[in-house]
Symmetry: C2
Subunit: 302 residues, 2 copies
């Protein structure tokens, strides 16, 4: 069953298009997670333990309203080897909770290196001591600046594992315009990237392809055109909440079905309790309520 | 002392512009490294231990002919947490050997995430349990597809630590043409990226800036134009050897001085012994000889 079909089935089953972003900042973890860290060990080990507990609590609270989670690799890497172990544990937590795992690392490199990233993200690495499993992601975000031959090893490895990729096409940050919106012929760089994504993906029985696109929710004016260029691609739409995007601007994404638009939110869920000026909101309850609010809002659109 | 000045000084001191690429593949390690791995532990732990010994041996053999080493992050990440620990240890080995460390991860993301990558690469991460140090790189490769606001946090963090960045401008793979060579106005995408690099870098007393560019050695026809657009940027020139680039094509890179062009080579050094058809060459001796051959060839050009 291809990634597109798996995604469509999971969205239908969980009645959710929400992707729970996991961007743990060690100084803004939920208090219970900090208290749960061991009293001994290096700062990295203790912080990574707290991050792991925080992510597990977030998955427990908000996960039921979400179809997938999206760990931000940078946030784990900065804690070194213990951080990487916390990432691997968090992937397992999410899978046990029935969520798909979209690894957000935006990797991209020449072919031999792209193949090494694919081993880390989806596959395994052969060694003289036996195979070393990678993270086992259901999908990963990838960067297309190095062109088609840099994407191929990642797409091929993903396919072998019924996984998918989300190629950066038009991101959610203001600076996205600097390169992605440059004019090329009668279009733009991001339209060229979109055409490449449209060509590389293979639609499954659901009509949804296994090569998706990152298309920021902060630039909804581009979504109709991008949907034309990538009729079968699932769109990953970051930028809801903290970055200013609104769910109701995203309807164009859902043309190929509900799973055509995945709405990603991180800080707006994990820090929902901070919106309570009185400071009485419990993090888990606030996160659960905000994830459910986003879920219902998106589900009503498509 | 800025990164540009540190780089210029180190090149002069070591009389070398060669960057030793560290792309360890667990099934192609030097035999002594495999034998040195512990007899117990998980496959990941044993393979990471072998990778660490391999990299240390490569640094010991080829390091004296090189100014820097360039660990490929993908090759360590695929071994999970033990791989990340091997990466951190390898960085320390290289520094102890007097080499600069260029972390090759080609990271790039929105501002808050770019800042997290900067903590992992150059800085430290504040946690309730104390600061967690990052890898301590002297420089890192970064991907500019997300534009100026995605580069700024990495450049600023690098500067605080007298470190630098190498922005992908025109890479060494065939597919680089797909996006980087797209026509924009009367130039190309890669010329726009070059102009951005030229603008973001701050030249030090040596005349060399702290924002460099990755400009593949396999496309030397672009180097003169790129040098015009980035007069002070150090160029990182991968693609020598295994990817087909030749040292004598690179003279334009050295216009701002010898440190203006760093010649990166990985497989051609680590696997130099495989060129001996009789199979008698020792890996360390062959690596040392190939690194010295490249060093002398590049030094003679500039």
């Amino acid at each position: 069953m291809s990634f597109g079909d798996r995604l469509a089935a999971r969205v239908a089953e969980r009645e959710s298009q929400i992707v729970l972003g996991l961007d743990p900042d060690p100084i803004r973890l939920w208090p219970d997670a900090v208290h749960a860290a061991p009293a001994i060990g290096s700062a990295a080990e203790r912080a990574a333990a707290a991050v792991r507990v925080h992510c597990a609590a977030l998955i427990d609270a908000a996960g039921p309203a979400c179809v997938a989670c999206k760990p931000q690799l940078a946030c784990f890497e900065r804690l070194g080897a213990p951080g990487w172990a916390a990432l691997a544990a968090t992937v397992q937590e999410a899978r046990a909770a029935g969520m798909l795992v979209l690894l957000d690392g935006k990797r991209g490199d020449i072919d031999v290196t792209a193949a090494a990233y694919a081993q880390a993200l989806f596959g395994a690495t052969a060694t003289p001591f036996g195979d070393v499993p990678g993270l086992g992601g259901d999908a990963a975000t990838i960067n297309p600046l190095l062109g088609r031959d840099s994407l191929a090893p990642l797409i091929e490895a993903a396919r072998v594992h019924d996984a998918g990729v989300f190629v950066l096409v038009r991101t959610s940050n203001p600076g996205a315009a600097d390169v992605q919106d440059l004019p090329v012929g009668d279009g733009t760089v991001h339209e060229r990237l979109a055409a490449l994504v449209g060509e590389l993906g293979r639609p499954g029985a659901s009509g949804l392809a296994d090569v998706g696109a990152v298309t920021g929710a902060t630039a909804p004016e581009h979504l109709s055109r991008l949907r034309e260029l990538m009729p079968a691609a699932p769109f990953l739409l970051p930028g809801i909440g903290a970055q200013g995007g609104k769910v109701h601007d995203l309807a164009a994404a859902f043309a190929p079905g509900r799973a055509g638009g995945l709405v990603s939110a991180s800080r707006s869920i994990a820090r929902a309790h901070e919106a309570d000026a009185a400071g009485h909101a419990r993090p888990a309850e606030a996160a659960r309520a905000e994830a459910e609010r986003l879920r219902a809002a998106a589900w009503a659109l498509a």
